[in-house]
Symmetry: D2
Subunit: 337 residues, 4 copies
């Protein structure tokens, strides 16, 4: 259930509603908007009686929510959420470009790529310290050492960093170094991890699972918001289908669909979404044109020597071209970069 | 096998190679390019001996083709094929926008929509006279009467028309009225129909099957070229996956993939590709940005009353907005409209 | 709409209802059952008024049908349909085993395999004279010569034959030789072919399309019944998914689902359903156990030399083992062989 | 790499090979078989020189392993692995039937169902104390209280219990009560959880992910074996496809495929595999017929009141029928129950 407050409602009105909700043994989630505040109610098994709230001062409307997600929905908050990642806004007018290597392999590699992506105009840096690998015998990342390197990349380039967290045990460690914690496709329904990240006060980038519907993606985001973390960025990274000319099938229709039903920002990862270097630029253009809030791009200066996902990493000069194309596309759809 | 001729090879040289091929009981397909002519060889069960040709005058190179398709491949022809549909080029610098109703319902409806799509700037008209319908009890199209109406729409609007052909029996009838014959997704592997259309001298728009790989799409096009019809336009219209927020999943990565391995033009149908009116514009922008040669758009002035596929038809004013967006996107990717 | 007649209704009562239906410009399809006759009404665009029929003599009940298919549904006919293929019943207590080569390659090959499958206990013979091939350069079948060979196989082995028909042009030719005409997966929605076969008086084996839902399969069957051909056998042959260890994913849950909602028999093709010789026997056992009415099995005495689909053909001795296993499984599920 | 020992090799020979492997900084995994022992080598980034081992006493053969999985492969161990779950063998001649409610809801419910499934002949009890739920607002299980109830069900019925573990934090708690820990489909690639369970000395039932290939499933199992836990049972529970008449598409061809390439037992879950009560029995028969080592079945005495997955739970009397059918099928495929 959602309680929508009058635009003239006072802080005291809101406090009173929150208390009434808690008095019924339920959780109240005030969601401030530009015009008015909505208060999401969770914790109820069945229906909640609207009558308990609609006569309280400052209450404009009580909406029974039929969609399974509540706090992530546009009904709960009409304005787009803009998430600040180390000071860089994601979800607003300005497009975000998160670029960097799949995995941090060494300080030299990470810094070299960092300098190049900053020079190209990327706004955030990405790089994996903990890598989820299909095989136990593949390179699993540098771990803590990788995080320390990420810290040095940020210090030198000034770019806030996004990096993946694999399990609850390492959440605190990763949060020490990361400006935004990424949840990978394989962990989209790792609910224990989501709950733990929901109690964190750092942005989370949540990737769509390999065969997840948008409803499932939004419900996973709902786990984060229900615990109190509203700084969530969604990410479309391709789904698994019969199609064999790309590694995954990038589902770009997901972008306008999410934009319509949710207030959360959504970015696109054409590197995993196609798995092919020569498809990254055209699909990046398409992602911007369809309305994504940004891109997540794997860049490597020596992709043939990369320890992970080399065939999909683009070269720094390709990133420069991508940024150039994005700069020219942005105004057509009313965005900047 | 492909025989690539010298750029200086004479018509006589080409004739001599063709005769040698036929002398071996095989078919020769000369494919003239801007610089040089290639000659595709088909009809062989196993390998053909390259030695039989490489010493003939004017022969630059003999390439054993490992891909299962030959005539549709970039190896056979380096330059993009530009198909002329009633004088409108598809596949060149200029983007094609094929717009009109799903089905021709009446002369009034067809003409009204025709006037509006021409006013919006569409370059070709589409409308179905024969409709393939999942249920035998659904509206199956006006048939011959629909074709006659299409003729009147062309006469009045000046727009060449694209319309679907369902079977070999009606190929001649449809060809009398259509400037381009469309093969629907369900017929992509109707090989008898493809062979018959291959012997026609009219352009064919071939839609990707609902679960076809790109290799299968290109092999179906190969049926057309192998019979002598080189005026083939491919069409991506979405594939069937588990995804439930759209009717099909539009596979935009197919566009750069086809562009790399084939010389044929490829357009995108975001109407069937999403099945949702409010997704048509964003996915049209994405299709243009990814490099498609054009769009196939369902337009209806009264979609709630449409006899077929109403929920995905856009209104004429939405087409005007789409054309406007396309006009601004085109120069970014080096195209015109 | 379905009109269910009293078990005591007379032929005259039925005739009167049929005439009333026709009087409204609609088609009537009397479907005799063991206990009672139902009369399907088709041809209506919207709802038909039940009142027009429910007071006629002999009418027990008038059922508005909400499912998009009518004549194929269990509501239209409670008893299982048993189709006689050249005297061999398909859909009754006895399991049907249709076995033979993918393609007829020569009289020697066809007869040799025919003798062996008869010896193993197969009840019907299969073999393709017209082959739908993804590539125009693959072996396309022997055509009329293949049909003549099929005639000789039947004469020598006594087994009725099932063979594929590709287009309307060859329906009459194929019907001359075949006891049952097969519609392949790629033609499941070739509605012109279905309508033509609906006017034939020979059984049709209709294969599920590569990405067809069961509703779409049943609606394609409805095309046949709506034209008057009630002798339809459905066939599950695997669907296309991301799964890569088999060529297709055999959807065995389709069998009990079809059995519940339709009266038509359904057989399983584990040869195409898996594309792997060593999976044919286990999946044949599973198909029988799940309730299929029979099997469609590719057999070749020299699979390594087969002109088509060699890797999935089983050897004659494997068919003998399959028949032996089927014989032991049948009684467990109340069937015979 | 695999080192296969002579059947006459002594314990001392094996010890010496293990030491040589460790001397190179690698891990050695001795895998005793009925005839001979194999020693898997892991921890190597590139190729290992076979020469270092093939001249050691007792070494029969050194096999470079090209498949990405090693310890789970038939090459590593020819004989089927039989896992003992609280004394009940899974993977041998005798079929295992794991039955019980989706979620433990109360002691009364759990015990009532426990008595009924034991009476029907089930060999193991299943029931969830920790439930992974798509929505944060769905019933998440009774947690520790559920585990305690499971302990009482085991005490009263004598059936060993299988229950799901969701995260590393609760592994020890769950292991205290469970005879076998289940990893759900959503956690199949939760590698931190797999590593932790690999260090446990309790059997693990590993479910295939919703869109996992068999190679990915086996590599996830490899995580468990590589950490030293060889008591792994695989489970096919359906994959996500476009098919809409069942909740998932049960991929029964996976069973003979896994059986050929791996020594691990594999069971089938037709409850999640179909999501429909009326499909559970036919698909259970099919699973047994195809060669599964057992079944995982959701049973509820009041499915309409179940807190989770009611529509797929079968009634106790249906389980009795299922057991009866299984008893009659088992001998046909050389199994017992």
């Amino acid at each position: 259930m959602l309680i929508v407050m009058d635009s003239a409602a006072s802080a005291e009105d809101i406090r009173r509603v929150v208390e009434s909700v808690r008095g019924l043994g339920l959780q109240a989630h005030p969601i401030p908007g530009a015009q008015r505040t909505a208060i999401g109610i969770t914790g109820n098994r069945g229906a909640v009686d609207a009558g308990a709230f609609e006569n309280l001062p400052g209450v404009a409307e009580v909406i029974p929510v039929s969609a399974p997600y509540k706090l992530v929905s546009r009904e709960a908050k009409r304005e787009n959420t803009v998430v600040s990642v180390g000071g860089v806004p994601v979800g607003g007018e300005r497009l975000a470009v998160v670029a960097g290597p799949c995995a941090i392999e060494s300080e030299a590699q990470a810094l070299e790529i960092g300098r190049q992506v900053r020079a190209a105009g990327a706004t955030l840096y990405r790089g994996g310290a903990f890598k989820p690998r299909t095989s136990p015998y593949s390179f699993q990342g540098l771990g803590r050492e990788g995080l320390e390197i990420l810290g040095r990349v940020r210090a030198e380039t000034g770019l806030p960093v996004v990096t993946e967290v694999l399990d609850t045990e390492t959440v605190d460690l990763v949060a020490e170094y990361a400006d935004c914690l990424q949840v990978g496709a394989r962990n989209m329904q790792n609910f224990s991890l989501l709950r733990r990240l929901g109690r964190l006060r750092k942005p989370v980038l949540l990737k769509r699972g390999m065969s997840a519907t948008i409803e499932e993606l939004l419900l996973s985001a709902e786990y984060l918001l229900a615990e109190g973390n509203y700084d969530v960025i969604l990410c479309e990274r391709g789904v698994r289908t019969f199609v064999d000319h790309t590694r995954n099938t990038l589902d770009l229709s997901a972008i306008p669909y999410v934009k319509r039903i949710s207030h959360l920002p959504i970015v696109v990862d054409p590197s995993h979404g196609t798995g092919k270097r020569d498809k990254v630029l055209p699909l990046s253009r398409a992602a911007i044109a369809v309305g994504a809030d940004g891109l997540l791009i794997e860049v490597h200066h020596q992709p043939e020597a990369a320890l992970s996902d080399g065939p999909q990493a683009i070269l720094p000069e390709m990133l420069r071209q991508l940024m150039d194309e994005t700069r020219r596309l942005a105004p057509v759809i009313g965005r900047t970069i």
